[in-house]
């Protein structure tokens, strides 16, 4: 092996500090892996272990351990992902409340925890207790009045700026890969791309720490997307402990798919939804074995989070609701309207956000990332504080909007005019006319809706960890709640209209505005991300109500149709295109009638293909060829006259093999002949020792003929995960099609800029 000579057997603990040697089998940064080779290496390894297991008991035990290592990895990923999610939830809970006040008895308690044991809470002032004081009470001993308000306002802004500045500094100094959502890059990595350091330990640490800071600072972003990145980092870390996964990039990606499922599972408390999200959105190849293992990892993660119990009531997510009021067929019409709103909002958000991100990428705006974060945080804090619906964290807002109004709610949204003689139990309150509090709440919600729509466009994509599940759900929940209250009041005041007469008698509980909020949230989330099944499953796992599947599906389907009418890409695919990642999407359909000969290189008028011959080139010729070109591989033909194809050799392996040969083998000089055949060629006497490179030659490269339709070629690239494909005619080599050529061709056909595909 390559690195055998350097291991002197000292084997210290400190060996992990040394630089790792490049192996023949590893890949370079920003390159694509060879899926077929990884699969065949795994099969070889498995066959070797199976053969050896018959030799002795120890080998048999080793083979069992190898088989079980997959499950051990899943268990560890679930444990660590659940733990980190619990830490993030608890820390966010505390730090969000830190902006407004502090608990005097124990500074590590949030507002709710501080007032937990207090006896001074009254029915009207459920949140107040003497142990938790706002900053104005603490500093100037006043709790009401203009000066107290201004002091609280000022300190809120200061804390928000402090958290955001700390977050962006940590990202910039320690782990620049920790910014953004992470899902577009993880999609690309799972399709076979290598980004070294993206799933590393420092990225994991910094992403966890800064995620807490940015969510607490009140910015309009969520933590679900970054949690997927955190879980994938955990997956990468644990898979590097077992050689079955650390040496095989294809197997490692199976582990990463399962880790992504665990990430979504702890974010939403939805294990099944997590697995479906991984299947639908994130993964590229998803064999059935991965399905079962992902479910296991998601369950372990959910169970770990539940045992840490961050929300004090054995629930996994802050906005778990559990009502079972029925819905009526006639309500499908407002649900579909909410779906249309979701689709339109999704389109608007994607277009505006991509335009803003493109501006950040190309103009001077991109040179001031820290300043940008500070300015956006300041604007968000200044506008968010006066409106009580934006002052609190977005998760609490969604929780309040999802909840139905019982007799015990004290918020303004539930300020209905009660009948004083009413003695109905808590969950069967009939529809009531709205009091003045509800009207105030409605226009405050409308302002909050407009604000959130605008500010999220500028927030997503900044150089801090940012997700967009929670802001989308908040926008949808606000719109849905407003529509729900409108329908409720319409049904109450006009209960004699034809629509309402059948299903809504006076004195009955017809309309549940909380359900409209849920449907709106699902519609907006679907409009932005274009999720289908996973969205519905996540939403009904969030609510625990199987009876609401039909409204959720109606809204999700409508929003996807409306959004697809304006543009085919979801937000993650749009970001992949913006960054130019070489991602060949399985969802795109290629319907043009071009042939392989239209796409292959070299085109007419270009330099002929750089090839290696089977036994007539010297070492010096090969080195010159490598130095002058930057292709990733070279086809090997019989000779320059008869261009019959023998195989394909990778650039990296050629370099390493030649370097090795020069260092170790005797007699190999620049004039030595390089041969790829089994036996050395006939050489005149006194010629230098030839160099045999057959072991690095891939003898079965994929070929298509020049008249193969591009539709088939694209399908082959997708299904097999190829990096390049050779084009032949009657056995003679004509040209080569690489993945980048395919992507450029598809971009050209879709009238996009083919030069935006940047990575090789």
């Amino acid at each position: 092996m390559v690195n055998a000579g350097d291991m002197n057997g000292s084997g210290n603990l400190m060996d992990f500090l040394d630089e790792p040697f490049p192996d023949v089998g590893t890949y370079e940064d920003f390159h694509t892996i060879d899926w077929l080779r990884e699969k065949s290496r795994d099969t070889d390894r498995h066959r070797k272990i199976t053969n050896k297991s018959k030799e002795s008991i120890w080998e048999f035990i080793k083979s069992l351990l190898d088989a079980w290592s997959g499950w051990v990895v899943m268990l560890l990923i679930g444990l660590l992902a659940g733990t980190l999610a619990g830490v993030i939830d608890l820390a966010v809970d505390w730090m969000t409340d830190l902006k407004e006040g502090v608990c005097l008895s124990a500074f590590w308690y949030s507002h709710e925890q501080c007032c937990w044991t207090s006896n001074e809470t009254t029915f009207d002032d459920r949140d107040k207790c003497p142990q938790w004081q706002k900053w104005s009470e603490l500093l100037v001993n006043q709790s009401e009045g203009a000066s107290a308000y201004i002091l609280n306002y000022f300190l809120y802004i200061m804390w928000a700026l402090c958290f955001a500045f700390l977050a962006v500094s940590l990202v910039r100094v320690f782990a620049p890969y920790a910014c953004g959502s992470g899902i577009p890059e993880i999609k690309t990595i799972l399709s076979g791309f290598i980004i070294r350091g993206y799933l590393g330990k420092w990225t994991l640490l910094i992403k966890t720490v800064t995620l807490v800071l940015v969510v607490s600072s009140g910015l309009s972003l969520g933590k679900e997307g970054p949690l997927v990145h955190v879980a994938c980092c955990c997956g990468n870390f644990f898979s590097s402990l077992f050689s079955k996964y650390s040496k095989n990039e294809g197997k490692r990606r199976e582990v990463l798919s399962a880790a992504a499922a665990a990430g979504v599972s702890v974010a939403f408390g939805a294990p099944i939804g997590g697995v479906l999200f991984s299947l639908e959105e994130v993964s590229y190849y998803f064999p059935l074995k991965t399905l079962w293992r992902s479910f296991f990892a998601a369950l372990v993660a959910a169970f770990t989070l539940r045992s840490i119990n961050p929300f004090g009531n054995s629930r996994l997510v802050l906005f778990y609701v559990e009502y079972h009021t029925p819905w009526y067929m006639a309500e499908l019409f407002p649900f579909i309207l909410l779906g249309v709103f979701g689709g339109l909002w999704g389109t608007l958000f994607i277009r505006c956000n991509i335009a803003w991100c493109r501006r950040r990428k190309t103009t001077r705006l991109g040179k001031y990332p820290v300043l940008e974060v500070i300015v956006i945080t300041a604007i968000t804090a200044v506008i968010a504080y006066p409106n009580p619906y934006t002052r609190r964290s977005t998760s609490e807002l969604i929780s309040e909007l999802f909840n139905d109004c019982g007799a015990l709610e004290s918020s303004q949204l539930c300020d209905y005019i009660n009948d004083p003689n009413m003695t109905r139990p808590v969950d069967d309150i009939p529809d009531r006319p709205a009091g003045p509090g509800v009207y105030t709440a409605m226009w405050q919600l409308a302002l909050a809706l407009v604000f959130k729509i605008v500010i999220t466009i500028f927030t997503f994509g900044m150089k801090i960890p940012s997700g967009l599940f929670i802001p989308s759900m908040a926008v949808g929940a606000m719109a849905g709640r407003m529509v729900g209250i409108g329908v409720e009041q319409l049904a109450y005041h006009h209960h004699d209209w034809i629509i309402f007469r059948n299903w809504c008698r006076p004195g009955a509980d017809c309309v549940t505005p909380g359900l409209y909020a849920m449907v709106g949230a699902a519609a907006c989330l679907g409009g932005v991300t274009r999720m289908t099944v996973s969205l519905v499953v996540i939403m009904f796992e969030l609510t625990g109500g199987l009876e609401y599947i039909v409204p959720l599906m109606a809204a999700a389907v409508t929003s996807k149709w409306v959004a697809d009418a304006f543009g085919k890409e979801g937000i993650y695919e749009a970001h992949i295109h913006l960054n130019g990642y070489p991602f060949l999407d399985v969802k795109d359909e290629f319907t043009h009638r071009t042939l392989a000969t239209d796409v292959m290189r070299p085109r007419r008028g270009e330099a002929p293909l750089s090839v290696l011959t089977q036994d007539s080139m010297t070492v010096e010729d090969v080195e010159t060829l490598i130095k002058e070109t930057d292709y990733n591989g070279f086809p090997v033909v019989v000779s320059k006259d008869s261009e019959r194809l023998i195989g394909f050799a990778q650039r990296r392996e050629l370099i390493l093999a030649i370097k090795n040969a020069r260092q170790r083998q005797d007699g190999v000089v620049s004039n030595s002949i390089v041969y790829f055949t089994e036996d050395p060629p006939e050489l005149p006497p006194n010629s230098p020792h030839p160099l045999k490179l057959r072991r690095i030659l891939n003898l079965s490269p994929f070929t298509v003929t020049d008249h193969t339709p591009m539709e088939t070629v694209v399908d082959i690239f997708r299904k097999l995960g190829l990096r390049q494909c050779l084009v032949t005619r009657s056995g003679r080599l004509l040209g080569i099609i690489t993945k980048k050529d395919v992507l450029r061709h598809m971009a050209q056909m879709a009238n996009q800029d083919p030069e935006s595909i940047m990575f090789n």
């Binding site: 055998a4 444990l79 009254t122 320690f174 330990k201 054995s314 493109r358 490598i626 130095k627």
Partner: protein
């Protein structure tokens, strides 16, 4: 036996960095598992709305989950005996539990991690350039697509021969490598906007 020692060295290389993380995991997981339920940590909370001329009230009591209902928790009962059922129908009782030890441990660990990172960041940004200045070993990173392959073909052998012997020098080397990697990442993300834009 070179194969075994090679495998052992590779294992210790991975194990060394993972020992740290697993230790952290073990520090976090046992506290929630062993948290004994102190009296502060469980409660049954009943919220009763206004009823006739009685104002609304919140009742807290430390009872187990099967006793968490209106009859056990609401004391003293504000209505006479025949009205108790009607009053209790309006009340909503919920059983809640929390673990104060978990919250304390997690918040304090989090704050110490943030503090440590802050200190290290201050060290890297302020103190490190002052120490490094007399050294004059600042490697200008090659920016664009330098032909690294040509360099590796023709150039000097990798510095594997002169391996640093002391632990301090190895830590130095690892830190320098890490700083180079972070600088590359920073260039890719912040300067060239090639990724994560």
């Amino acid at each position: 036996f070179p194969q075994a020692s090679m495998m052992f060295a590779q294992c210790t290389r991975k194990c060394g960095s993972s020992v740290l993380l697993i230790t952290l995991l073990c520090c976090i997981l046992p506290p929630p598992a062993q948290a004994s339920k102190s009296s502060e940590d469980i409660r049954c909370k009943c919220i009763c709305p206004p009823y006739r001329n009685i104002s609304g009230h919140i009742y807290n009591k430390n009872v187990s989950q099967k006793d968490c209902n209106c009859l056990h928790v609401v004391e003293p009962m504000p209505v006479p005996g025949n009205d108790v059922e009607a009053y209790c129908l309006l009340c909503e009782c919920k059983y809640e539990e929390r673990s104060t030890t978990t919250i304390k441990v997690i918040i304090i660990i989090y704050l110490s991690v943030v503090g440590a990172l802050l200190l290290y960041m201050a060290f890297l940004v302020l103190v490190d350039p002052l120490i490094r200045k007399p050294d004059a070993y600042t490697q200008p990173l090659h920016n664009e697509e330098e032909n690294e392959d040509a360099r590796s073909l023709a150039a000097a052998p990798t510095p594997s021969g002169a391996r640093a012997n002391t632990v301090l020098e190895r830590v130095e080397g690892a830190q320098q490598r890490w700083k180079r990697q972070v600088q590359e990442q920073r260039k890719t993300v912040f300067d060239r906007h090639k990724m994560l834009s």
